[in-house]
Symmetry: C2
Subunit: 115 residues, 2 copies
């Protein structure tokens, strides 16, 4: 393997939920598509496995941030579609605020380094 290093575990943990919520805020989607979308948006740098994502989706649903419904795709295959609930919208904003806070401190420290 060469090139892009895998994301560190802790950063994956911290980014998974905000990324999922942000993607669903653009409209209904399903697990497999979310994995592909994250890969696309990151320029192939973030590659989630399904074994990682599905438990996360269940957890977020248990927390009442998203809801799901089973439906058939155009191809006849069954899919579980997820969409954002009101609580999920609020959770997303909270995540974004906290990310901004930490990112601000970190980038501040990085700037200081060159002064």
């Amino acid at each position: 393997m060469y090139g892009i290093a895998m994301l560190m575990k802790e950063l994956v943990a911290a980014s998974t939920e905000p990324l999922v919520l942000s993607i669903l805020s653009r409209g209904e989607s399903y697990g497999y598509a979310v994995i592909q979308e994250v890969k696309r948006l990151s320029g192939d740098k973030i590659e989630w496995t399904d074994g990682m994502l599905y438990p996360v989706m269940h957890r977020i649903e248990d927390r009442d941030s998203i809801k799901s419904r089973w439906d058939e795709s155009e191809t006849g295959r069954k899919r579980k579609y997820y969409s954002l609930k009101k609580g999920g919208k609020m959770a997303m904003v909270r995540h974004q605020e906290q990310w901004s806070l930490v990112h601000g401190v970190l980038s501040g420290l990085q700037k200081e380094h060159y002064v």
Copy 2:
């Protein structure tokens, strides 16, 4: 308690090590001072406990990113001073790259939301 919400656990896990490494990249420091520095830099929004930080410092040292030495402070009290090693400098850069990547994807999604 009112006002600032506590950082989510996952975000704490993802930010602790890069923050510690970045602070030490400015020069030698010790546990208690690192806690206060993070509090200051975050505008009192990030308040680490010592029970949380010391195991982190030990882990980072085990990973060979930092080294420590015991010394006396001006007040005569004993302190464990930490400083960045070569591997720690590289680890810090790797953390910063990964943070930038995730932050880019997240902020991209947030912008999209208003288009």
